[in-house]
């Protein structure tokens, strides 16, 4: 396997175009492929839009498959002649994922089946859903499914294919649960999603393994690396995972269980997804990757064994199904087993038969489902014990159903005849000597006999076998004549292939087989499969008679068999699955409740502990905590301030239950941090911290007035001790970590900023230049966060109901008791303070580019000065005089900052590139103009607006007059 580092680069496109087994002569790029893939999705909304006009809806739904079918027929001659059509577009090259399509004979066959049967199913569904509102929803889903299915067969990139593979599982889930109000539908849908979805994961693993070995997810690259893959040590894993993936999809034993339970879907779904197309996706993929896997011994044993098992189980169980659709489902399982088995043989002849039978099965199984669906709809039941003797009620249905049933049983001059006989002949030829040589043909004959048995049962039981019994809809209503149209088409095709099998074999099947084998060149010596083999085989007639006799015998003995079957204990896979699922859900809920019990305290401690574990581990591995940098000498002032800060912080923690005192200590802590910033050469930070601290304490004071003034004693005593231990450990960790970093030399990228601040940004205050220029985009994001927080505060306080908290008369009296609401001295001082403060903030703002200051700090100073007016003179007084609304101010700020950035785009510079120049002004002297200043103005406006919005709206909650209209 390639080392992980190499996995990121997949030279997909080059390898596809230059070196591979495809030469440029036989490949052609064709946009039509993309059109074919996208057509269903383009038409998907149409039936939904036209849901009130059923006819228009069905016509719009029919258009997509009809156009696809037509396009495919146009491309078919070239494809059958061996040409490979390609379409390529790199989607995520780093992952090797590409929108890469490929149409060769194999893909074309499947695409024809998908679109052709799609047409008949949509047509049939129109009559099936007649009089019900379900049809448009169904059409939309079927079109979505059609695209997914076409995506599987047309993909050239295996990862791209997997996307569609999963999509079919999902849409199948939705369609099985089409009648979601029925429990049986929901359970069947869940079971199928569980099995097919699980298989999809296995397939993903197989594809990733293959891609990592080959170095590309392109099909042509993978197909070319047969030897590399088969000799690789993980090949058995790839094969195993791949087989799990395809077997779940194609309902192979023991994953077949979901298919019978999928029969609760509407019958058109069963006809389309669960017999003709989706269950064949697994078969398709086996054929697609046939060149990689076939010939490996493991492949032969597993695929043949599982296929045989599926064939036998399916055909045997089918006989006992009283439900018509159940019978057909098990019959489908057995036919899928047959095709799988043939693919396992690994010979070209077996592959030919497999492809041939795949076409035949699609052609005779779809009409049988339609027949079952029509009877179900007419009679209100599809129980074969009730449905008897319908030949006298629906003679045409009987005639048209006879042909596909007989084809299924393998009667002469019908398409099923040849595939079944060819299969038996193959099973004689494909085995070596030994006990397998006897066992395989014997089992093949047994399986064939069973399938004759259930075919006879289906037909005889439905149309003859006495009279109908306990039919819910009695007398039986007529079946719309239109339903017979698709049935007749399928019957005609069955007959046509039955009479002239050579045409199909030579014209379509052989190119498909060659495409599947990877030899596109028709010039290689490929011997056309010779049907004469059937005549030459010595025992064939005898075997034919034997299977029919066996089938008849099984059917005649049905009463005894049913009695035996009824005596067996019933095992319902769905119920077992459900009870397992319930158990699993209950266990995981218990698990979740252990961790997540709704207590925030618990979550926080989990968070802290996780952080501790993840940081202390690497910290522990440090050789020594102290680095090599010399320590800075301690001076008494700084040491005193730092120790005082620690005392304050500890006091907050200790006294936190006396809230006002704790808050005051918090404020003191913040102010001491300001001193710290100033001491350690960060004047901008000191200014910012100082103005923020004032505001923050102010807000918390406001909030505290509505909250209890002290916290109650905690009930769980040990918890405080535990938390103290955890917090101490966290503190020690942070202390050690920061000490370790601070004492180690630094490699900073800041030299660039320091060097370029003046020449590039036009400012000597590097911190400010970083904010408004170098990292201006970050700042834009940060003021946006500030604005959002302010708006959130606004929204939260907007409809805040102070239950019993609007100041009552006694409250106001108490207030008046110890203080004037608006003290005179403060009022007098605040007013002249405002213009001075504004002047200071203007100064701080303007000098910010070159000296400590800037938009953030100026904004905070302005906000502090403005809020002082609110405090000193009351909210009403201030609001009347406040000319600016805060929310528009925030918006304007963001807009100025954003537009300044966009402005640089006009001059062909990247977003937020600043421009500056120096001017000579009379009197003032040299003067700098910079766009960064404009950006800083946006920052300033946003900061002022946000801070004021927060403060004013919190403040208004506690006015004497009660919370009035929101501010800002």
């Amino acid at each position: 396997m390639a080392p992980p580092g190499q996995m990121a680069v997949f030279p997909s496109r080059n390898r596809l175009l230059i070196g591979s087994w495809l030469t440029s002569v036989r490949t052609r790029f064709d946009m039509t492929l993309l059109l074919i893939l996208l057509l269903p999705i383009l038409f998907l909304p149409a039936p939904l839009v036209l849901r009130h006009a059923p006819r228009a809806a069905v016509v719009s739904a029919l258009l997509a498959p009809a156009i696809i079918f037509y396009l495919l027929l146009q491309l078919l001659p070239a494809v059958l002649a061996g040409q490979v059509l390609l379409f390529h577009y790199d989607w995520i090259p780093a992952l090797g994922l590409a929108v890469s399509l490929r149409l060769d004979a194999l893909a074309a066959l499947f695409a024809l089946l998908i679109s052709g049967i799609g047409i008949s199913v949509i047509f049939y569904a129109h009559h099936y859903f007649a009089g019900k509102p379900d049809a448009p929803r169904f059409f939309a889903m079927i079109l979505g499914f059609m695209m997914a299915m076409l995506g599987i067969v047309l993909s050239e990139n295996l990862l791209f294919m997997l996307v569609f593979w999963e999509m079919t599982s999902l849409i199948s889930f939705l369609l099985i649960g089409f009648y979601g109000q029925k429990q049986i539908s929901r359970r069947g849908a869940r079971l199928s999603l569980f099995i097919t979805g699980g298989g999809g994961l296995a397939l993903l693993a197989a594809i990733l393994l293959m891609g990592s070995i080959v170095g590309s997810f392109q099909l042509s690259d993978i197909l070319a690396e047969r030897a590399l893959l088969q000799q690789h040590s993980v090949f058995p894993w790839i094969l195993g995972l791949f087989l799990v993936g395809v077997f779940t999809k194609s309902a192979q034993f023991p994953f077949h269980l979901w298919l019978p339970h999928a029969m609760s879907a509407p019958t058109p779904v069963s006809a389309y997804l669960h017999s003709a197309t989706m269950v064949k996706a697994g078969i398709f993929l086996m054929m697609r990757l046939y060149p990689v896997f076939s010939g490996a011994e493991v492949w032969f044993y597993w695929v043949v064994a599982i296929g045989f098992m599926t064939l036998l189980v399916g055909s045997f169980v089918a006989i006992f199904m009283h439900d018509m659709k159940g019978l057909l489902a098990y019959s489908t399982i057995s036919h899928l087993g047959l095709i799988t088995l043939l693919l396992g043989y690994g010979s070209e002849a077996a592959l030919t038969v497999a492809v041939f039978h795949l076409i035949n099965h699609a052609l005779f199984k779809a009409p049988l489902f339609m027949m079952a669906g029509s009877i179900d709809k007419a009679a209100g039941t599809r129980d074969l014990r009730q449905i008897n003797g319908l030949a006298w009620h629906y003679p045409w249905l009987a005639v048209l159903s006879f042909i596909p049933t007989a084809a299924m049983a393998g009667l002469p001059y019908l398409n099923g005849y040849f595939s079944k006989k060819l299969f038996i002949v193959e099973s004689f030829q494909s085995t070596d000597s030994g006990w397998l040589a006897v066992l395989i043909p014997a089992l093949a004959i047994l399986g064939a006999a069973f399938s004759v048995g259930y075919a006879i049962r289906l037909f005889h039981n439905t149309f003859f076998n006495g009279k109908p019994r306990d039919i819910p809809n009695w007398p039986l209503p007529a079946i719309s004549g239109w339903v017979y149209l698709p049935l007749a088409c399928f019957a005609a095709l069955c007959l046509w292939i039955g009479f002239w099998p050579e045409v199909l074999l030579h014209q379509l099947v052989q190119p498909v087989v060659q495409a599947a084998q990877g030899n596109v060149a028709l010039t290689t010596d490929f011997s056309p499969y010779d049907l004469a083999i059937l005549q030459q085989h010595p025992w064939l007639t005898t075997i034919s008679m034997l299977t029919f006799a066996g089938g008849l015998a099984v059917y005649s003995a049905r009463k005894a068999l049913f009695a035996w079957h009824a005596a067996l204990p019933t095992v319902d896979a769905k119920d077992i699955f459900e009870s397992r699922m319930q158990w699993l859900i209950a266990r995981s809920q218990q698990g979740v409740h252990l961790v997540e019990n709704g207590s925030l305290q618990r979550y926080v401690i989990y968070l802290v502990l996780t952080a501790l574990v993840f940081t202390s581990w690497p910290l522990w591995q440090l050789q020594q905590w102290r680095g090599e940098l010399a320590l800075m000498p301690v001076d008494a002032m700084s040491a005193g301030a730092l120790i005082l800060l620690m005392v304050m912080a500890i006091s907050v923690a200790v006294l936190h239950r006396q809230r006002l005192i704790a808050l005051l200590f918090t404020g003191a802590t913040g102010l001491l941090i300001t001193v710290g910033f100033a001491r350690f050469s960060a004047p901008d930070l000191a200014l910012t911290q100082f103005s923020v601290e004032v505001m923050a304490i102010f807000i918390m004071m406001l909030a505290l007035s509505f909250l209890p003034q002290s916290s109650p004693q905690e009930k769980v005593r040990y918890r405080a001790k535990r938390d103290a231990v955890v917090a101490t450990v966290a503190g020690i960790g942070v202390a050690v970590l920061s000490f370790a970093v601070m004492t180690r030399p630094q490699q900073s990228i800041s030299d660039y900023f320091l060097a370029n601040s003046v020449p590039g940004g036009g400012g000597s205050n590097v911190v400010n230049v970083i904010l408004v220029d170098f990292r201006g985009f970050d700042t834009l994001g940060e003021i946006a966060v500030l604005a959002i927080a302010a708006l959130a505060v606004f929204a939260l306080t907007r409809n805040l109901r102070l239950k019993g908290h609007s100041p009552s008369a006694e409250h106001i009296d108490a207030w008046h008791g110890y203080a004037q609401p608006y003290p005179l001295i403060l009022r007098t001082l605040a007013r002249p303070l405002l213009p001075m403060a504004l002047l200071v903030s203007a100064y701080i703002f303007l000098r910010g580019h070159n000296l400590p200051g800037g938009g953030f700090i100026a904004g905070l100073i302005t906000a502090a000065a403005l809020s002082l007016q609110y405090v000193a003179c009351g909210i009403r007084w201030a609001q009347v005089r406040m000319l600016t609304q805060f929310r528009p101010l925030i918006g304007a700020g963001l807009l100025i900052a954003g537009l300044t950035g966009l402005g640089s785009l006009l001059f062909d510079h990247p977003f937020l590139t600043s421009w500056f120049s120096y001017f000579e002004l009379p009197v003032i002297g040299k003067f700098e103009l910079a766009t960064a200043l404009l950006f800083d103005l946006g920052v300033y406006a946003t900061v002022v607006g946000s801070t004021m919005l927060i403060l004013a709206n919190m403040g208004r909650l506690m006015t004497i007059h009660g919370p009035g209209k929101e501010i800002g």
Partner: protein, 112 residues
């Protein structure tokens, strides 16, 4: 000096974590304030400690690392906004739920 600063960071973190783990919203708000102080100072200390070396070209011979300072400057403003938001959230939940327990439920307490 580095020892003292590291110690102070440790103390701030300890107090912050301890308060965040308390069951009352107001303590949590105080704890978050403490923690954001700790985080800001921690980020700041990543630029190492410098005396008399502001990152202003021409104001000193040496310059402290301006990048952590710029980061912390916005972080201070944002943590202020977040504090305001958490305060209002705490206030609102206390008034709506009639108790100020962080889990929103406090059966044994009397509603405030």
């Amino acid at each position: 000096m580095e020892v003292l600063v590291a110690l102070m960071l440790g103390v701030l973190t300890t107090c912050g974590v301890y308060l965040v783990l308390r069951p009352r919203t107001f303590s949590v708000v105080l704890g978050l304030t403490m923690l954001s102080h700790a985080v800001n100072l921690f980020l700041f200390s990543m630029g190492r400690l410098h005396s008399n070396a502001p990152a202003v070209i021409g104001a000193a011979q040496q310059h402290a690392d301006p990048l952590p300072q710029a980061l912390v400057l916005t972080a201070i403003v944002i943590s202020f906004a977040m504090t305001a938001f958490v305060v209002v959230l705490a206030l609102r939940s206390a008034l709506e739920l009639r108790n100020d327990h962080v889990d929103g439920v406090d059966k044994e307490e009397e509603p405030i």
